[in-house]
C-alpha cells in the first residue's frame, strides 16, 4: 500500500512538474484545413500582387479574389507581395513596395486594416504580437542602411516597439522568448551580410549577433529548439546552403551543404527545394529533423524537375505538397499539388510569380 501511494505521490508530483513546464496557450479546437490562400508576388512596379484561393471540398482554384471581396480598397492589394501568414483569425499579407501589411479576416479575406511599414519584408508571430522585418532602418554615414524589426499588436495593429538589426533583414523565427532575424545584406552586393540577430523579446533589445551564412533568406523553427535557415550564397563562389542553428547554444549545429532555395517544415520533416538556373532543373530533398540527416532521393516523383521552383508549402494535416512555379516571372505561374508520397495530383494556373501559401480552416480562432 505504502509503495503504491508513494508511486501515486511521485506521479502526481511529476504531473505538477510537467505542468510547470507547459507554456500557457489558448485552448484550441483543432479545425481541419479546408483550403488555402496563395499570394502572388507580381512584378515590381506593376501594382499586381494578387491573392488566389483554393477550396479542398470543391477542388476549385480562384485567381485574384482580393478586388471582388474588397472592391473599396483603392488600387487593390498592391505592389509586390512578400509574405502571407494566418495567425489566429486574421491573415496578414506583407506588400513590400506598397509599404504596408494588409490585414484580412482569415475566413473571408475581407479587409480589416493596413499597417504602414516602409519596405516591409517578412512577418512572424509570437504571443499575440506580430513581428515584421523592414529594410528601411537607420542610414549610416557611408549611405548604407540598416534594417529593423517592428513589433505590432495584433488587436490594435499599432506598432509598439522597433529594434534596429543588421543589413536588409529578411526571415525571422521566434523561439522561447527570443526572436531570430536573418540579415541578408541584399543591398551590399557582392559582399552581403551573414549575421543572425538574436533579440530578447521582452526587453526588445539585441542580445547577440552570430555569423552564420551569407545572404540568409528564410527560416523556420522545428520542434527540437533548432532553426532551419536557407542561405542563397553570393551568386558566385559561395553557393546556397541549408543550416541548422541551435537556439540553446546560439550556434550553428550543422551545415547540410545542399543547394537550397526554399523550404517548409511540417512535423519532423523539412521539405527543401532548389531551382538551378544553369541546368534549369529543380531538386527536392527531404531532411529528417529528428536525426538531422538528409533523406536520400527526391520527395517529388520524377518528371517535375523543370518546374521553376519559387517556393514550397506543405499541408500540416494531410502532408499534401504544393510547389509554386514562377515560370518566366512575367507571365502567369502555376501551383502544383502532390500527395505526401510525391505523386502528382493537380496543377492550377496562378498569378504572376506565385510565392506564399497560407492554409485556411473552416473557422478560425
Amino acid at each position: 500500500m505504502k509503495t503504491i501511494n508513494f508511486y501515486v505521490f511521485v506521479f502526481i508530483c511529476l504531473l505538477f512538474v510537467s505542468c510547470r513546464n507547459i507554456e500557457p496557450t489558448p485552448p484550441m479546437v483543432k479545425q481541419p484545413i479546408n483550403g488555402f490562400y496563395l499570394l502572388n508576388e507580381g512584378t515590381w512596379g506593376s501594382n499586381n500582387a494578387s491573392l488566389d484561393m483554393y477550396d479542398y471540398e470543391t477542388n476549385e482554384y480562384t485567381q485574384n479574389v482580393f478586388p471582388s471581396i474588397n472592391p473599396e480598397v483603392i488600387l487593390g492589394l498592391g505592389d509586390v507581395g512578400n509574405d502571407l501568414q494566418i495567425y489566429g483569425s486574421k491573415m496578414y499579407a506583407v506588400i513590400n513596395a506598397s509599404n504596408i501589411v494588409e490585414v484580412m479576416d482569415a475566413a473571408t479575406a475581407k479587409h480589416i486594416a493596413q499597417i504602414e511599414i516602409p519596405n516591409c519584408r517578412k512577418i512572424t508571430f509570437y504571443q499575440g504580437k506580430a513581428y515584421v522585418s523592414s529594410y528601411a532602418g537607420v542610414v549610416l554615414e557611408d549611405n548604407t542602411q540598416l534594417g529593423y524589426v517592428a513589433e505590432i499588436d495584433t488587436s490594435t495593429f499599432l506598432v509598439n516597439r522597433t529594434i534596429s538589426v543588421g543589413y536588409q533583414p529578411e526571415g525571422m523565427a521566434a523561439v522561447d522568448g527570443k526572436l531570430y532575424v536573418a540579415n541578408s545584406g541584399g543591398y551590399l552586393y557582392p559582399v552581403y551580410d551573414n549575421k543572425l540577430s538574436i533579440i530578447d523579446i521582452e526587453t526588445f533589445t539585441e542580445i547577440s549577433c552570430v555569423e552564420v551564412a551569407v545572404n540568409m533568406q528564410t527560416m523556420q523553427a522545428d520542434s527540437h529548439g533548432n532553426i532551419l535557415i536557407v542561405s542563397w550564397g553570393n551568386y558566385n563562389d559561395v553557393q546556397s546552403d541549408l543550416i541548422l542553428f541551435d537556439t540553446k547554444s546560439a550556434s550553428v549545429k550543422k551545415r547540410f551543404n545542399i543547394r537550397a532555395g526554399s523550404m517548409c517544415i511540417v512535423g519532423d520533416s523539412a521539405y527543401v527545394g532548389n531551382y538551378d538556373y544553369l541546368t534549369n532543373q529543380s531538386s527536392y530533398t527531404l531532411v529528417n529533423l529528428a536525426s538531422e540527416e538528409l533523406v536520400p532521393g527526391s520527395f517529388i516523383s520524377e518528371g517535375y524537375e523543370s518546374i521553376v521552383l519559387r517556393s514550397i508549402a506543405v499541408n500540416p494535416d494531410n502532408h499534401d505538397i504544393f510547389l509554386m512555379d514562377a515560370a518566366d516571372y512575367v507571365s502567369p505561374g502555376s501551383v502544383y499539388c502532390f500527395s505526401s508520397e510525391g505523386e502528382f495530383k493537380w496543377r492550377k494556373i496562378a498569378g504572376n510569380t506565385p510565392g506564399y501559401i497560407a492554409f485556411k480552416k473552416k473557422t478560425q480562432l
Binding site: G45, G78, S98, V330
Partner: protein, 681 residues
C-alpha cells in the same frame, strides 16, 4: 516593367536593376526647334503645309510634318508631334519632363535612328532617345522613313536603322533687304509651365548666316489624376483623385549655328547644349503616390556638315561630330536603397559620303563612317567600355521614267574594349537593302513600291556591361523587313480641292535575337539575353486632304490609321501565351488632324486614338488595358503691330478630360491648356 524582378531581396542586383530599369526609361540627348507663321505667305499656306514634291520623290513609306503643321498641332515636344504619324507608338511616361520614346512598327525603340540636322543622335549607353527633350520651337520639319531614306548621297549611318526620324531645324532664309530676324516666344499654361525662347538670325555676308537661340523651360509638372473603380452592380467601389508630384523640370537649351553657301554646295557648323534638372514622378501603386528620385542631365554636341557637287556629277558629303553627355541620378528616398550615380558618355564621329552620277539615270555612292563611344559610370566594378564602330555603305540607284530601283549594302564593324571583365566579341556584318518603286502611268503620280531590308542593332553598353545585369556575350538584334505599298498624290492650286494624298502599306517584320532581361542564375539576377523573337504584320494608312476657297479659306485634313499584329514568339510553342500581342501594342490606332484657316486666323482640332492592348505578352484579363483617345483644340491669330509680326494662340488639350495611361501606373494629364505669344522682327 518586364525587366524588373518581382522580389527585392539581394538588392545589390535590385538596385542595379532598378537603375537599369530607370535608365531604360530616362535617356540622354535633347534638341529643340521652333516654327514661324509668316503672314505674308497666307495665300500660299496650302503649299507650306503640304509638300507634294517631297512625297513624289520618296521610294519608301514616308511621312512628314513641316513647321506650319507642327506649330498648329499644340505640341510641346517632338514626341507629341510624332504621335500623329501612322505606324508609330510612343511610350509616354507622362508630364512635361516624362520620358517619351518612339517605336516604329513594333521593332523596338533601339532599332530606330533619330537624326538631328542629318547627323544621328547617339546614346550608346541605353540606345534610347527621349523625344520629349526636343521642343518644336526651332523645328522646320520632322520626317519619318520606314526602312531607310532613299537619298543618293547620305552617310553610312543613314542605312543603319530599321526606321529613321529626321529632325530638321530651321534654316535662316533672308529676303534681299533684310539681314536679321529676331523672334521671341512665350508659352505658359498648365503644369505651371513657363517657357520663353528667343531666336536671332543674322546675315553675316552674302554667303554666311548665323543663327543663335535659347530656350528655357520650367514646369512644376503637377496635374490631377483620378482612379475610379465601379463594382459589377454599377455602384462606385472607389473614386480617388491625387496630384502628380515630383514631376518638375528646369531645362535650358542653347544653340549656335553658322550656315555657309558654296558653289553647288553648303556647309554648316553648330553647337548645341541642353541642361536639365527634373524630378522623376514614378509609378502609382496602392499606398504609393509619391516618389523622390531626381535626375540631372547635360547634353552637349558640336557638329559640322559640308556638302558640295562638282561638275554636276560628283558629290561629296562630310559630317563630323563630338558629343558629351552627362547624367546624374539620385534616389534620396530612405524607404529604398540610396543611389547617387553619375554617367558620362563621349562620342566622336566622322563620315564621308561620295556619290557619282554616272548617267542621268544611274547613281552610285560609297559612304564610310567612323564612330568612337565611351562610357564612364560610378557603378561598382564598372567596365568602362569603349567602342569603335566602322560603317561602310555601297549603294546604287536607277531612275527611269516608270521605275526606280535602289540597292545598298551596309558593312558594320565593331570592336570594343573594357577595363574590367570581358569585352563583347568583334562584329563584322553585311546587311542589304533593296527598294523598288514603279509608276505605271508616267503622268499620274501613283506609285507602287516595295522594299526589303535587313539590319541589326548593337547591344547597348547597358545591355553588355551594366554591373551584374549585363551580358557581354550578347549578339546583335536583327530585324528583317518586307513592305509593299502604294502612294498617290494630287495637287492642283487652281481648284477648291487642291490637295489629296494617300499612302498605304502592308508589311511583315521579324525581330530575332531580341535583347530582353530574363532571370538567369537566380530569381534576383536578371540578365540581358538574346531571347526574344517577334513577328509583326500590319497595315499603315495615311491620307491628306487640302481645300481652299474664296481666296482666304483653307482646310487641311490629315488622317492616319494603323492595324498591327505583333506576336511574341519567345515562349515555347505549346505555351498559352505563345504569339501573344507584344506589350503596349494596340491592334488599332489612328489619328486625325483638321485645320481650318481664314486669313490669319487658324483653328486646329486633333484627335488620337489608341486601341485596347495588354501590358504583357501574356494577354490575360489581368493585363488588359482599355483604349484611350484625346481631343485637342487650338486657336491662333496672327497680326501685325507696326512692323512687328505677332501671333497669339490658345490651346486646350484632352478636351473631355479622359483619364488614361499610356504605360500602366503612369497616369497622364486630364484637360490642360496653354497660351502662346510670338513676336518676330
Amino acid at each position: 516593367m518586364l525587366f524588373v524582378s518581382s522580389r527585392k531581396g539581394s538588392t545589390g542586383i535590385m538596385r542595379n536593376f532598378r537603375l537599369l530599369f530607370l535608365f531604360v526609361l530616362y535617356c540622354v540627348v535633347t534638341f529643340s526647334a521652333s516654327a514661324q507663321l509668316d503672314t505674308t505667305k497666307v495665300y500660299a499656306l496650302a503649299e507650306v503645309q503640304f509638300s507634294p514634291k517631297r512625297q513624289l520623290k520618296e521610294m519608301v513609306p514616308f511621312q512628314t510634318m513641316d513647321a506650319g503643321v507642327i506649330e498648329r498641332l499644340s505640341c510641346q515636344s517632338v514626341a507629341d508631334a510624332v504621335r500623329y504619324f501612322s505606324g508609330v507608338q510612343i511610350k509616354d511616361y507622362g508630364g512635361v519632363g516624362g520620358i517619351k520614346t518612339i517605336n516604329i512598327r513594333s521593332m523596338g525603340t533601339n532599332q530606330m535612328g533619330v537624326f538631328y540636322d542629318g547627323i544621328q543622335l547617339g546614346n550608346a549607353q541605353n540606345g534610347q532617345i527621349d523625344l520629349g527633350r526636343f521642343s518644336t520651337e526651332n523645328m522646320e520639319s520632322i520626317d519619318l522613313y520606314n526602312g531607310q531614306r532613299g537619298s543618293v548621297l547620305q552617310s553610312a549611318k543613314d542605312y543603319g536603322s530599321a526606321g529613321t526620324i529626321y529632325l530638321n531645324t530651321r534654316k535662316p532664309v533672308f529676303n534681299d533687304s533684310i539681314n536679321y530676324h529676331l523672334r521671341a516666344t512665350m508659352k505658359a499654361g498648365s503644369f505651371g509651365l513657363a517657357n520663353p525662347s528667343i531666336l536671332w538670325e543674322q546675315k553675316l555676308s552674302d554667303k554666311v548666316t548665323l543663327s543663335a537661340s535659347a530656350e528655357y523651360t520650367y514646369a512644376n509638372g503637377k496635374y490631377k489624376f483620378r482612379y475610379k473603380k465601379v463594382k459589377n452592380d454599377g455602384t462606385t467601389a472607389y473614386d480617388t483623385t491625387a496630384i502628380r508630384e515630383n514631376a518638375d523640370i528646369n531645362a535650358l537649351r542653347t544653340e549656335l549655328s553658322l550656315f555657309g553657301k558654296l558653289k553647288e554646295g553648303e556647309w554648316k557648323a553648330q553647337l548645341y547644349n541642353y541642361y536639365s534638372e527634373r524630378g522623376i514622378p514614378g509609378y502609382i501603386a496602392r499606398n504609393l503616390y509619391f516618389h523622390k528620385q531626381r535626375q540631372w542631365d547635360d547634353n552637349f554636341f558640336v557638329q559640322t556638315h559640308y556638302k558640295q557637287t562638282f561638275w554636276k556629277k560628283y558629290s561629296i558629303l562630310v559630317n563630323a561630330k563630338y558629343a558629351y553627355d552627362y547624367t546624374r541620378y539620385l534616389n534620396p528616398d530612405t524607404t529604398l536603397q540610396y543611389i547617387d550615380d553619375t554617367y558620362k558618355q563621349q562620342e566622336a564621329y566622322l563620315s564621308m559620303a561620295n556619290s557619282v552620277n554616272i548617267f542621268p539615270f544611274w547613281d552610285v555612292s560609297l559612304s564610310a563612317d567612323y564612330q568612337f563611344n565611351s562610357l564612364d559610370a560610378t557603378l561598382r566594378d564598372f567596365a568602362y567600355p569603349t567602342r569603335h564602330t566602322g560603317l561602310v555603305a555601297l549603294a546604287t540607284a536607277f531612275k527611269f521614267p516608270n521605275i526606280k530601283l535602289q540597292a545598298s549594302v551596309l558593312g558594320t564593324f565593331v570592336h570594343e574594349n573594357v577595363k574590367r571583365s570581358i569585352a563583347a566579341s568583334d562584329i563584322a556584318v553585311f546587311t542589304p537593302t533593296a527598294i523598288v518603286s514603279v509608276r505605271p502611268w508616267r503622268t499620274i503620280p501613283f506609285d507602287i513600291r516595295a522594299f526589303y531590308k535587313r539590319i541589326f542593332r548593337m547591344p547597348t553598353f547597358n545591355d553588355l556591361y551594366y554591373t551584374f545585369v549585363g551580358n557581354s556575350m550578347l549578339e546583335p538584334e536583327y530585324v528583317t523587313q518586307y513592305d509593299l505599298g502604294l502612294s498617290y498624290h494630287y495637287h492642283d492650286g487652281k481648284h477648291i480641292f487642291s490637295d489629296f494624298g494617300i499612302q498605304l502599306d502592308v508589311y511583315d517584320n521579324q525581330v530575332e535575337n531580341k535583347i530582353v532581361a530574363i532571370p538567369s542564375s537566380n530569381p534576383f539576377r536578371w540578365q540581358m539575353k538574346n531571347y526574344g523573337q517577334v513577328r509583326i504584320n500590319g497595315i499603315d494608312v495615311s491620307m491628306d486632304f487640302g481645300l481652299q476657297w474664296c481666296c482666304y479659306w483653307n482646310l487641311d485634313l490629315r488622317l492616319a490609321y494603323s492595324y498591327q499584329e505583333s506576336k511574341d514568339l519567345s515562349y515555347v510553342a505549346d505555351s498559352p501565351y505563345y504569339g501573344g500581342q507584344m506589350p503596349y501594342t494596340p491592334w488599332n490606332s489612328g489619328s486625325a488632324v483638321l485645320n481650318l484657316a481664314y486669313k490669319t486666323i487658324g483653328l486646329n482640332y486633333s484627335f488620337i486614338y489608341t486601341g485596347e492592348r495588354y501590358s504583357s505578352s501574356a494577354n490575360i484579363p489581368a493585363n488588359y488595358i482599355q483604349p484611350w483617345y484625346t481631343h485637342d483644340i487650338a486657336l491662333s491669330y496672327a497680326f501685325k503691330i507696326k512692323s512687328v509680326k505677332c501671333t497669339a494662340s490658345a490651346e486646350v488639350n484632352n478636351l473631355f478630360n479622359q483619364q488614361y495611361e499610356v504605360i500602366s501606373g503612369y497616369p497622364m494629364p486630364g484637360t490642360n491648356f496653354k497660351i502662346i505669344l510670338k513676336v518676330a522682327l
